[in-house]
């Protein structure tokens, strides 16, 4: 499903002394099947933005379109539930939403609400459990007896079991250790490719954005600050620093390299191995002269 924001503004507590503009005249497009990273500071409007993707927030001004669903102040989809079954959202610390007696019941909760048949739910649970890296023996356990990492996987399974077309991930790896972070992100990337999902990743990690996304959107104070491919966006160090955002470590290193050696190695999403070879060339280049 293509996603379009047209001049979207969102104001919290409008017409009160506490009114606060979280998003201001924001326009962008996300093509169906793409993997988009949304980056910005706390308070840049990221969480408000993703709430528009499944109708938890309705624009104060402007228009949001998700496939055939349109959200404006005047026009809401008649069947909001249907939209929510198409757009799955994994919120920050999703394990906080677990509540059922058993893992299996919790995973089934979403699909049940959206009217999926019990037989179908059973098949889906069978599929999803290994996909998120959960052991099948855990299905009948209480989710509250599991480790933090396992609870996170159960919550993610609960969102995936609805089989959404669009997957929204709000810092899905927060609080996990490095191995857990990598496993979860690799899992989402695999799903993205296999099931041709449209994936929207809200993250603080420039490294993850660089590694997984094919399009990057930088938000600052509720407006679009930059947009483009990861190579384009991340090579603009000054622009990013102006809004106190870091560049991926490799870009940082390339900049420092240029300062020291006076020659540039262009950033083109190369691997560390390729980078090492390029540096070796530079140094050898000096040798031959």
């Amino acid at each position: 499903m293509d996603i379009t924001f047209e001049n979207v503004t969102y104001i919290y507590q409008q017409n009160t002394p506490f009114a606060h503009k979280a998003i201001n005249d924001l326009s962008f497009q996300i093509k169906s099947g793409s993997f988009v990273a949304i980056i910005g500071h706390t308070g840049s409007g990221k969480s408000t933005l993703i709430q528009h993707l499944n109708g938890l927030a309705i624009p104060t001004e402007g228009k949001v379109s998700i496939g055939g669903y349109h959200l404006t102040k005047e026009e809401k989809p008649k069947d909001m539930k249907e939209l929510r079954s198409k757009v799955g959202v994994v919120f920050q610390y999703p394990e906080h939403q677990l509540f059922e007696e058993t893992v299996a019941k919790d995973i089934a909760f979403g699909p049940q609400n959206f009217g999926v048949s019990e037989a179908e739910i059973k098949t889906r649970i069978k599929e999803i459990t290994p996909a998120v890296g959960l052991d099948e023996t855990l299905l009948e356990r209480s989710p509250f007896d599991l480790s933090g990492g396992q609870m996170r996987r159960v919550a993610i399974a609960g969102v995936l079991a609805v089989k959404p077309d669009v997957l929204v991930l709000d810092e899905p790896t927060a609080g996990l250790d490095p191995r857990g972070q990598k496993e979860i992100m690799d899992m989402f990337y695999k799903l993205h490719q296999e099931q041709e999902l449209t994936t929207i990743l809200v993250t603080h990690s420039m490294e993850d954005a660089l590694k997984y996304a094919d399009h990057v959107l930088i938000l600052n104070k509720g407006t679009k600050y930059m947009e483009g491919s990861p190579e384009e966006v991340f090579s603009q160090k000054e622009a990013l620093q102006r809004v106190q955002l870091d560049v991926p470590e490799m870009v940082q290193f390339l900049n420092e390299f240029q300062e020291k050696f006076g020659t540039a190695i262009t950033f083109k999403k190369q691997s560390i191995k390729e980078l090492a070879e390029a540096i070796q060339q530079q140094i050898k280049g000096a040798e031959s002269t």
Binding site: R179, K260, I272, K273, A276, I283
Partner: protein, 279 residues
């Protein structure tokens, strides 16, 4: 002569009598003014160490000695004066209605007179750069700011040891940076041993010594540079290897004769520059 502040002697711990051992026969020492980082994957036992250090838990086997005193039910109140702790969740350790009330909490518990408290509040909030927020309520602060207040409240009781138990894990990158800078500046100024517990290898480069935990055991106890050089085994126990260490490795593989194990970009670039100008 370095003074021994903390000593773990063959400590083992488990929750309940039946549970699996969370710590297995751990022994180490920490000296005054030293910065020790404890790293390990989630569930490796690193946070249990922090709780044992503060008498929030007691070991089933072995002994913990802090500043010459064995940790037990009788000594914990003394020991908690010497060992201050900042926890992971910024919200769940903020007790006061405002920043200054929170900084005061630990001092109030020890019956510190009001004038002294007011003085210490000003000093410690300045030390963590939060002096402009003395009367602010917690829900108006960012996670990083709350953690800085938590650090100030520990400093206010002038402990000998400050433990940060994954204090940056729930923060965004700018919050994490705030805390790391605060910690580095405090360490330089105060007479304080520092224990930072983390799973982020980037955060350990500045430490004097690193203890790596794996499944309840001490896996390595070395200076950061030595730790950084063991990429394969670090990955095996679920930790991330820093970019600069991987790059140094790849450079060697590409035939560049790197002479050091770099801790940061500057060191690597300096080494490359030396190679470059030599040729």
């Amino acid at each position: 002569m370095r003074k021994k502040i903390i000593e773990f002697r063959n400590v083992s711990f488990r929750y309940g009598d039946e549970g699996p051992w969370v710590l297995k026969n751990c022994s180490f020492e920490i000296y005054d003014n030293e910065w020790v980082a404890i790293i390990g994957h989630n569930g490796s036992g690193k946070s249990t160490i922090a709780k044992l250090l503060n008498g929030l838990l007691f070991p089933q086997e072995g002994e913990i000695i802090i500043n010459g005193e064995v940790v037990n039910e009788e000594s914990i109140w003394n020991i908690r004066k010497d060992v201050g702790m900042v926890f992971q969740n910024p919200d769940n350790q903020f007790v006061g209605a405002t920043v200054q009330d929170d900084v005061a909490f630990g001092m109030e518990n020890r019956g510190v007179p009001r004038e002294e408290m007011q003085k210490r509040i000003v000093e410690t909030l300045a030390a963590v750069g939060m002096q402009d927020y003395r009367l602010t309520e917690p829900h108006r602060l960012s996670g990083g700011q709350k953690q800085r207040v938590a650090i100030a409240s520990v400093l206010a009781i002038a402990p000998k040891v400050l433990i940060l138990d994954e204090a940056t894990a729930m923060l965004d990158p700018s919050g994490r940076q705030e805390i790391m800078q605060t910690v580095a500046s405090i360490q330089g100024r105060e007479e304080l041993s520092l224990i930072t517990i983390t799973h982020d290898l980037q955060e350990v480069a500045q430490a004097d010594r690193v203890i790596v935990m794996n499944s309840g055991e001490i896996w390595k106890e070395q200076v950061p540079r030595e730790i950084f050089s063991q990429k394969e085994s670090l990955r095996e126990i679920g930790l991330d290897v820093p970019f600069v260490a991987i790059l140094a490795d790849e450079l060697k593989r590409a035939g560049v004769a790197i002479s050091i194990e770099p801790l940061n970009h500057e060191e690597l670039l300096e080494d490359l520059w030396t190679l470059h100008s030599r040729t």
